[in-house]
Amino acid sequence: MASTRSRPLSPHLTIWRWGPHMVVSILHRATGIALSLAGLAILTWWLTALVDGTDAYATFTKVATSPIGLIVLIGLTWSFFQHLLSGIRHLVTDTGAAFEIGINRTLAILTIVGSVLLTVLMWAYLLGVAK
């Protein structure tokens, strides 16, 4: 009956005051899931549409440039940059560096600022060129 005896648990999500490091940690997982499922599915659709002929590519373009399509693509662009930047942060902390509260917090905030900035720059350029 070992399973019924409750063993001590470490404090979980609800007990901590929210900070940038927690937001970035969860965003890393959420954006990773979005990129893996939606991102790779759209990449695959794009490649097959390219080779399947003019009609298939026209359908892809029509969906991709519709309001919902643009929201999804912009969201995935942001996911890509957020996952990339927080991934770099993970590689840094993997070496044992940047665990002090100050630098850890700064790097976490920088990943969000950077991902939003890169997304805005990229889409400002893309939508500007398209006009």
């Binding site: 063993r7 990773g32 893996s36 790779l40 097959t48 080779v51 590519y57 993997d94």
Partner: protein
Amino acid sequence: MSLGDSATPLGKARGLGSAKHGGGHWLTERVTSIALLLLGTWLIASLLMLPKLDQRTVLEWLHAPSGALPMALFIIVGFKHALDGLKVVVDDYVHEPGNNFVANLILLFLAIGGGAIALFALARIAFGAVA
């Protein structure tokens, strides 16, 4: 588990020494992430540098080895990284061994199947007649 066996998993493993393996998945995730840092930057830069994103322009870009080769690597490494990342998510939330096995099996088939579709489309573009 026999009655009265109160040892925790950690207690049972203690003193047995290292299994000498088990870090492979973790390390592969890091190695593919560094590769994707390069390949992802290449992909975004390439998309931004294309004069237009119409079918002809994109097909010409991916028909040339300078476009097809990095794209093939991006597909292979991208699907592998997605598989490794989503496995962590599945293992975190799907605890029952049977469900866990099935979820990981579905994940594996999706990743290999999706990667194959994307690679095959790319191969048709790369080895086919110029658009």
